[in-house]
């Protein structure tokens, strides 16, 4: 089985999709000759040509709005938005149309669209290139939102997204693109949307997280080994959430911490904390904790290490859940 990193899993999956389905079209800024600014579409332009791997004009509303029409018209567009911080001009099309089209047409018009969005910080990128904007998307009815943190899940979730009749935003954690390698089966397979993954088994406390923060949680759990047994739940799908998996884990450990990179207030961690009260309240031995980015705009990178959750902050927060 070939070993690959997360971005190679994305590229090879896009390649296989273009090869097996004529309706699949990849489009975005610089995705053609250049292979994307992260090289996620490397080599695809040469292989499939500019009609299937389309360099678009520089306009995000245009990319998403046109993709919506292409999806309705019978193609299977996979659009790339260069960085999540530049998704905002396209949010109107996602909120006003992609997420609403099926409902407002009584199911007569569906939008089988995939939007790939690299997100998150920790890479010393220029300002406004490191946002984690999942809360806006998860708060948009009609959209599905997935985020892999491993090469294996990247492939399986991308297949699930492509096969889904609903619009799916596929968030790609930039910092994990080339972080680790993993065996990825060569054939097509699906990681079902709406299913979380126990990334590490433990008995004392559950850390619920996704994307870049999975790696941080793993590092922290390793450091606490022998002292605290940490279970890590990698959500993989942010909408729909795998509520059963969250409840199962927290009912087992009796303690929960939700870890997100995005700013704290009204972030997804708040929603998950509320869900934990719904389905695991009587098992809780401590208040549900949240570790998140502060409520400031994602800073220029000189401050980045202070902004992002660190193993130290996470360790301290985990220890607090264990105090009486």
């Amino acid at each position: 089985m070939p070993e690959m990193n997360l971005i190679q899993a994305v590229t090879s999956t896009l390649d296989a999709m273009l090869a097996s389905d004529e309706r699949v079209v990849v489009l975005g800024e610089d995705v053609g000759k250049n292979g994307g600014v992260f090289r996620a579409t490397d080599g695809l332009f040469d292989k499939y040509g500019g009609d299937r791997v389309m360099d678009t004009p520089l306009a995000e509303s245009g990319i998403i709005g046109t993709s919506i029409g292409m999806a309705i018209g019978g193609l299977r567009p996979i659009a790339e938005i260069q960085f999540m911080g530049f998704l905002y001009p396209g949010l109107d099309q996602l909120i006003s149309h992609a997420g609403r089209m099926a409902a407002r047409s009584s199911g007569q018009v569906r939008v089988p669209l995939v939007v790939r969005v690299p997100f998150g910080g920790g890479i010393r990128a220029p300002e406004q290139h490191a946002d984690s904007a999942e809360a806006y998307l998860v708060h948009t009815p009609g959209l599905k939102v997935v985020v892999p943190s491993t090469p294996y899940d990247a492939k399986g979730l991308l297949y699930a997204a492509l096969q889904d009749p609903d619009p799916v935003v596929f968030m790609e954690p930039i910092r994990l693109y080339r972080m680790g390698r993993q065996e990825v089966p060569p054939d097509a397979y699906v990681v079902p949307i709406g299913s979380a993954r126990v990334a590490r088994e433990g008995t004392d406390v559950t850390v619920v997280t996704w994307g870049n923060m999975v790696a941080l949680a793993e590092k922290t759990a390793e450091a606490l080994k022998g002292e605290v047994s940490v279970e890590i739940l990698d959500l993989r799908s942010l909408f729909p959430l795998d509520r059963e998996a969250i409840w199962r884990s927290v009912n087992k450990t009796g303690r929960a911490l939700v870890l997100q990179e995005a700013p704290l207030t009204a972030g997804l961690a708040g929603e998950i904390s509320a869900l934990i009260q719904d389905g695991a309240f009587w098992s809780l031995q401590a208040p549900v904790a949240r570790v998140a980015g502060p409520d400031v705009p994602y800073p220029p990178y000189a401050w980045e290490d202070m902004y992002l959750p660190t193993p130290e902050r996470l360790q301290a927060a985990i220890r607090r859940t264990l105090e009486d």
């Binding site: 389309m54 245009g62 009815p141």
Partner: protein, 343 residues
Amino acid sequence: MDWPLVQVLGTKRDKKADVELATALYRDMILLRSFDERAINLQRQGRIGTFAPSLGQEASEIGSAHALRRSDWMVPSYRDHGALFVHGVPLENVLLFAMGRAASLSSAVKALPTAIPIATQLLHAVGVAIASRRLGQEDVALTYFGDGATSEGDFHEALNFAGVYKAPVIFFCQNNGWAISVPRAHQTASETLAQKALAYGVEGARVDGNDALAVHQVVSEAVARARAGEGPTLVEAVTYRMGPHTTSDDPSRYRPDDEYLDWKTHRDPLLKLGGFLLERGVASEALLNTWAEEARARVQAGVDAAEAVPMVRPRGMFEHVYDEMPSVLHEELQAIEEVTPDA
């Protein structure tokens, strides 16, 4: 570059006009006007919600829609009831939309749901047009919007994308003089709206939007170019909104009376085309009246059909949001059903 206003009625070109086409256009225009009048009454009686009338724009609506084949895509905004009728959407569906139900559509018709956020639908038209071409189909897309929409970013992104990809799409802008209370002159310093085509490297045309034959001709030419792979066209139909923006609007707050009276008296699209039919001996006053009566009867049938549709149930709000209902929506639906009589 010059952007002359294309006209047929009242020029020597109307000698060659197709009277059968003129008759068909007239009959759909009178249907639209009857529908409009009735819908406003229904709104006043509380039987439908807010309604956007087409009064004064019948030639633009009907003339353009008649240039399409049924297999072509129609991508409408909220004022395009007439165009939707021509394309095959049943009258009662449009009424149901005004009664707060799902968007005016019919599964048998290639039309997208009525778009509400201004100019956003233009990009969808580009997308379906690109898809049509990629899938080896001949179908084109015709999208509708107003003068105000030309100020939105999506208008520019759509023209730009369409130009770059040579998409078979027709951008049909009804310049009706107003965007709610804001006059056309406040939307743009451009002399015409058609000239904006130039910046995107696409064809542009300017047509008398109250001349149904001219609209039909200009849009048909644009459709033919698109079908032949020659790319998109921006059509500016110069018309006038003779009614309020919607039933919630009071134009006396902002609209000069003399301007309105001038259009109503001299440029009413129905009087224009009706006059032509009379002059050519195609129809008599009596026949025009018969057609008007038949139109009213069709509208009545649509009203009856719409009002016979049962009340909505909570499930309808949930069942189509996702292809498969996620468990969280299921629970939310159940909670509402539990407290809704007859759910």
